[in-house]
Amino acid sequence: MDVRRGQRTVIDPKVRQVGFVPAGATRPPARSHSVPTDACSSSPPAPELPLSGSSLSPVMIPPPRHSSADGLPSLSRSAASPVPIPASPLRRDTVQIPIGSYNPSESVLGSSPMISPSSRLDAVSEFSDEVPTSAWLGRSGSGKFASSFPSSSGEMMTMKITGGGSGGGGNTPKSSLTTASVVKALPGVSEKDRGALIEVQNEGISKPQKQKTSKAERRAIQEAQRAAKAAAKEAGEAVKPSASSGGALPASKQGKVVKPSSQKKDGPQVTAPVVPSEKKVGDRIPDKDRKKDVPHPRMQFDDKHRVEKAKRRAVVNQSEARNRVELFRHLPQYIHGTQLPDLESKFFQLDPMHPSVYKVGLQYLSGVISGGNARCIAMLLAFQEAIKDYSTPPEKALVRDLTAKISSYVSFLIECRPLSISMGNAIKFLKNRIAKLPHTLSESEAKSSLQSDIDRFINEKIVIADKVIVGHAVTKIRDGDILLTYGSSSVVEMILLYAHELGKQFRVVLVDSRPKLEGQALLHRLVAKGLNCTYTHINAISYVMQEVTRVFLGASSVLSNGTVYSRVGTACVAMVANAFQIPVLICCEAYKFHERVQLDSICSNELGDPDVISKVAGRNDLNHLESWADNENLQLLNLIYDATPSDYVSMIITDYGMIPPTSVPVIVREYRREHLWI
C-alpha cells in the first residue's frame, strides 16, 4: 500500500496532462489556486460563477470550485447561520459535474477531508438506471429533491388526495342516512387529508417553478440567490464576532418573514429575490421526509429498515445470511440455495413476468449464465422477446407502460443477481430508446424499431466491438511472446484464438483461482485448438510472472478514474505484473465503461456463496469447516470482484482503440451520446 501511495503522487501530474488535454489544459493550475481562495474569502468567486457556469461545454472539465463552494463555505457558514442550504440552489444550475472528471481522486490526494466523502457519495449514488434526463436532473438537483421519484409520487398524492377530498366533501351531506361510523370516520380522514393537501400544494407550487423556468429565468434566480447569499453572509459576518447564536436568530426570522409573502404570490412567476428564501424554507421540511421515501440508488444492506422494506417488495424470497464480514455488511448476501427453489416453485404465480425474462433470471440465479457479455446479451434478448410479445394496454402510452415494464423486469433480475455495470448501461440505452420513440410510430413499428435497436446494440457494442478489440490486441502479440491471462474472459479467448490462427508463435500462461475455476473451461478450449498452454493457480503468480512478456486481462467494467473492476484476483495479477514491469493490457468493450469512480473494492462489490470457499469439492479430508457456517467467530468472505488501480494498467484495449487508463473519462464523456443513441 505504501508503495502504491508513493507511485500515485508521481504519476498523477502525468495523468492530468494526458486525460484532459483538449480544453482543460489551461485550467488546472488556475483551479488549484482557486480552491483556497474560495475557502478563505467567499465573496470574490461569486461574480465569476455565471461565466463559468454558462460557458461550460460538455467537453470541458468543470472547475472543482463548485464542489468546494458547496462543501467548504456552506459548512463554515452553517456554523454561523442556520441557513445551510443557500449553496444548494446554486448547485442546481451548475451544469452537471461529470463524475468522471478527475475531482474525486484529486481531492483525495489533496487530502481535503471535506470533499472526499461527498464526492464519494456522489459516485456511489450515481449508479442509477434511470433515463439519462432524469438522472441528469437527479444529479444536478439539490440532493434528491429533483429526482424523478418524489415528483411523481407527489403528483400521485395530489391526485389521490384531491379526489378523496372532493369525494368526501360531496358525500358527507348526502350520506346522512348511512351509519354513523361512516360519518364519524370521514371528518377525521378529511382533516388529515387536508393537512396533507396543504403540504402537497406547497410542493406543487414550488415544483412547477423549477421545471418551467427558462434559462433566463434561472439565471435571474441565480443572481438573486447570490445577492441574497452575499447579503446573508455579510450579515452573518457582521454578527459573528458578537455571538453565533445571535446571528442565527435574525436569519431564521428573515426566512420566516419572507415565507408568507411568497405563499401569497401564486404561480411560478415570483420575483427573483424571494424565490431562494422560499425554497429554502419550503424545501427543508419535505426534504427530510423525502429522504425516507426515496430509495437509495444502491441498497445499503446494513440499513435494516430499508432491507425490510425491500423484502416486502421482493419477488424472490431472500433470506439473508447471518454471519457476514463486518466491512461488507452493506452488500447483499443471501443464504445460497434458498432462492432458487423458492423462485422455481413460484414459476406460475408470477404473471406479469415475461417467460423469457424469468428464464434469464433463473439462469442468473443458478449461475448457468455468467460473464459480463453473456449476461448482458441474455438480458437484452429476453427484453427483445418481451417487447415482441408486448401489447400496450388500453388507455396507456407505450412509452410509459413499456418503460415501467422494463423496470419491473430489471428489478426482478436484480433480485436474482445484482446487475453488472455493462447491464446497467444496456438498460440505460434501452430505456432511452423507448423514451425517444417518435410519437407518430404505431405500436408495431415502435416494437420492431426497439427490437432492431437491441439487435444493433448487441451487434455494434458487443460483437463488432469484440472483433475490433481482437484486431487491435493481436498487433501486440509477437512471435515468442508468453502471454498471461487470468480467469476466463471471452474477449481474451478470442484474441488468443485469432492470434493462433494468424500463425503467431506464442505460449499462454493461464492463471486460475478457486472456487469457480473458470479457467479450466478456457484451458480446455485453448488446448483443443492446439495452443501451447501452461495452467497454474494464482498462488504461483509471482513465480510464473517472471517469464511472461504480456498480461491480457478482461474486465467487468472500467471506471472513469481508470480503475478496472473485474473478477477478483485481477488486481493481484496486475500488481505482480507491474512489479515485474510487464505490460498489463485490459481488454474491455467501451459499453462497459462507466462514469462512476471507485477507489476500493469495498463500497460496491458482489458477494458470492460463502460456502463454496469453505468446501473443497471431492476432498472430504479437507472439509474442516463443514458445519461451521453458524459459528459466530467465523465469517466467510467470497468476493466476486475487485478494483485494480489504474497505476497497474498499462493500456486498455477498447473498440475505440488502445488508450491509457486515464483516457477513460474522455471516452465516457465524448461518446456518451453515441452510447445511448447509437
Binding site: 406460475f348 455468467s370 453473456a374 427490437q451
Partner: protein
C-alpha cells in the same frame, strides 16, 4: 401463463386396479380420503395458478363421469376441457389425440393419479432454465409404511416394478439414463458417448418417476408423429429422448426453429455460434464438452437436453397405480401428508363428519377419518383407518390400518386389519380380516 399448457392424463378404467375401479368409478374418481384422486392433482395445479387445463380420459363413459364431476366441483375455479380418447391408446396415444390443441411453447403433462405437493412450477422452471426438451419430476420412492407387513418376497416384487433406474450427471440436473425397474434384470446398458460426455454418471435406484413431465411442444409433437408405435410416455417417449440426446434426430428441424426463436431473428449465423459459445457456461462438464465438440452449428444443435427435477425428501409424492399404493396413499393423506387432504383435523388429529353416529365407548383414534352418514355401534375401535360414506358398523368392531369404502356393512365382532374393503361389501358377524389387500363384492347385490 408463462407459455405453458397443462394436460392431465386421467386414465380410464385401469385394469391394474380392477376391483377398485369399475365402469361406475373410473380411476380418476377413485376416492382417496373420500375425495376423488383427480382432485388432488387439480388442486395442486390450481394452487400454482394453473387454471386452464386439458383433462384426457380414456373411454367415453368415463369421460362423461369425470367431466360431470369436474364441472360440479370446480365450476368457477378452473377452466377445464375434458377430452375423451379410445381406451388402450396409452399415454402417448392420448397425447396424440389432443396434440392439435397444444399451442404453447411447452407442455406440462401430469398424471391424474398423482398425489403430491411438489410445486409443478419447480419442474417447469427447471425445464425453462435449462431449455430442456423434456424435464421429469423424480421423487424419492415412498418407504412402505407399517401396514406393509406382507411377505417380504411380495414386497420386493412390488418395489421392483415401481422403481426406476435413473442416471444423473454430477450436478443432478441432467437426466442421462432412465429405465423402469421392472425391465432391468441384471445389468443396465449405458451409452458410451453419454458417459464420455459427462465424465461421471450417477446411477440411482431410489428415485421414482412421478409422471409429471414438461415437454417442449414441438419436440413432443415431432416424436409422436414420427414414432407412431410409441404407446406410453414413460416407457417409450421419455427413454427415447434420453437415449438420443447426443444424436438428436428430432432436433434437426424442431429444435433449430426454437433456437432461432430464442435468439430473436439475429440472422447472422456467426452470432448464433457466438452465443452458443458464451451463453452457457455450464454447471457441469457436460456442456463444456458439448461446446467442445466440433463447433459447426449443425453439430451443436444435434443435441438436446433432458433434465430432471428431484423433489426434496420433505415433499410428499405418490402415484396411485396399485392397490398397495391405494391403501398407502389413503393412510398417508390422513396421516403424514395430512396437509394434502384439505380437511381440518380435530384436536384428536382425526376427521369425524358431524353426521356420523358413534355408539357408546367407541373410540376413533388419531389419523382416522369417518365420513358423513356412517354409523358405528358400541365399543368399536378405529385406528389409522378411513371409513367412507354411509357405512354401517356394528358393535365390538375393530378396524385398524384399513380403508373401508362407501356403503359397507360390517356386523358385530369383526376385526379388520390392514385391508381395503370395497363399496357395498357386507361382512357378516365375527369376520376376521388380516392383511387382505382387497375385499370386494363381485356380486354386491347377492351378498
Amino acid at each position: 401463463m408463462m407459455d405453458f399448457q397443462v394436460v392431465v392424463l386421467a386414465g380410464g378404467t385401469a385394469k391394474k386396479l380392477a376391483p377398485l375401479v369399475s365402469k361406475e368409478v373410473p380411476k380418476a374418481l377413485l376416492p382417496v380420503a373420500n375425495r376423488p384422486v383427480l382432485s388432488y392433482v387439480l388442486e395442486l395445479l390450481e394452487s400454482s395458478n394453473l387454471k386452464d387445463l386439458i383433462v384426457v380420459v380414456e373411454g367415453e363413459d368415463a369421460a362423461l363421469r369425470v367431466g360431470g364431476w369436474i364441472s360440479g366441483a370446480y365450476v368457477d375455479r378452473l377452466h377445464v376441457e375434458v377430452a375423451a380418447v379410445p381406451e388402450d391408446v396409452g399415454t402417448a396415444g392420448a397425447l396424440r389425440a389432443v396434440a392439435h390443441h397444444l399451442t404453447a411453447n411447452d407442455v406440462l403433462i401430469v398424471s391424474g393419479d398423482l398425489v403430491s405437493d411438489v410445486p409443478p412450477g419447480a419442474v417447469a422452471a427447471t425445464h425453462r432454465r435449462h431449455g430442456a426438451v423434456v424435464t421429469t419430476l423424480l421423487c424419492y420412492a415412498p418407504v412402505s409404511g407399517p401396514s406393509d407387513t406382507g411377505s417380504s418376497a411380495g414386497k420386493d416384487k412390488v418395489k421392483k416394478s415401481r422403481y426406476n433406474i435413473v442416471g444423473l450427471d454430477p450436478t443432478r440436473q441432467l437426466l442421462l439414463h432412465i429405465a423402469a425397474g421392472a425391465e432391468v434384470e441384471k445389468d443396465i446398458r449405458v451409452q458410451k458417448n453419454i458417459l464420455r460426455a459427462v465424465g461421471q454418471l450417477e446411477i440411482r435406484a431410489d428415485l421414482m418417476d412421478a409422471h409429471m413431465y414438461a415437454f417442449k411442444r414441438t419436440v413432443l409433437q415431432d416424436v409422436l408423429d414420427q414414432k407412431d408405435t410409441f404407446h406410453s410416455i414413460r416407457q417409450d417417449v421419455l427413454p427415447y429422448l434420453v437415449r438420443t440426446q447426443l444424436r438428436s434426430e428430432i432436433s434437426a428441424n424442431g429444435l433449430h426453429k426454437v433456437e432461432d426463436n430464442a435468439n430473436g431473428r439475429v440472422s447472422s449465423q456467426n452470432y448464433v455460434t457466438w452465443m452458443s459459445q458464451h451463453r452457457e457456461i455450464a454447471p457441469s462438464a457436460y456442456q463444456e464438452l458439448l461446446a467442445l465438440s466440433p463447433r459447426s452449428p449443425e453439430n451443436a444443435l444435434r443435441t438436446h437436453k433432458c433434465c430432471a427435477y428431484i423433489a426434496s425428501k420433505s415433499k410428499y409424492c405418490a402415484r396411485l397405480n396399485s392397490i398397495q399404493a391405494f391403501s398407502d396413499i389413503n393412510r398417508d393423506v390422513v396421516g403424514e401428508a395430512s396437509h394434502l387432504s384439505g380437511y381440518s383435523f380435530s384436536s384428536q388429529n382425526n376427521i369425524i363428519h358431524p353426521s356420523a353416529e358413534l355408539g357408546s365407548k367407541t373410540t376413533v383414534g388419531p389419523q382416522c377419518m369417518l365420513a358423513e352418514g356412517s354409523q358405528m355401534g358400541d365399543k368399536c375401535s378405529v385406528k389409522r383407518s378411513i371409513i367412507g360414506r354411509h357405512c354401517r358398523i356394528g358393535s365390538n368392531v375393530k378396524i385398524v390400518n384399513s380403508v373401508v369404502m362407501n356403503h359397507v356393512t360390517i356386523e358385530d365382532g369383526c376385526l379388520v386389519q390392514g385391508s381395503v374393503i370395497c363399496s357395498n361389501v357386507h361382512l357378516q358377524e365375527r369376520v376376521v380380516l388380516k392383511d387382505c389387500q382387497m375385499v370386494c363384492a363381485l356380486w354386491p347385490d347377492s351378498v
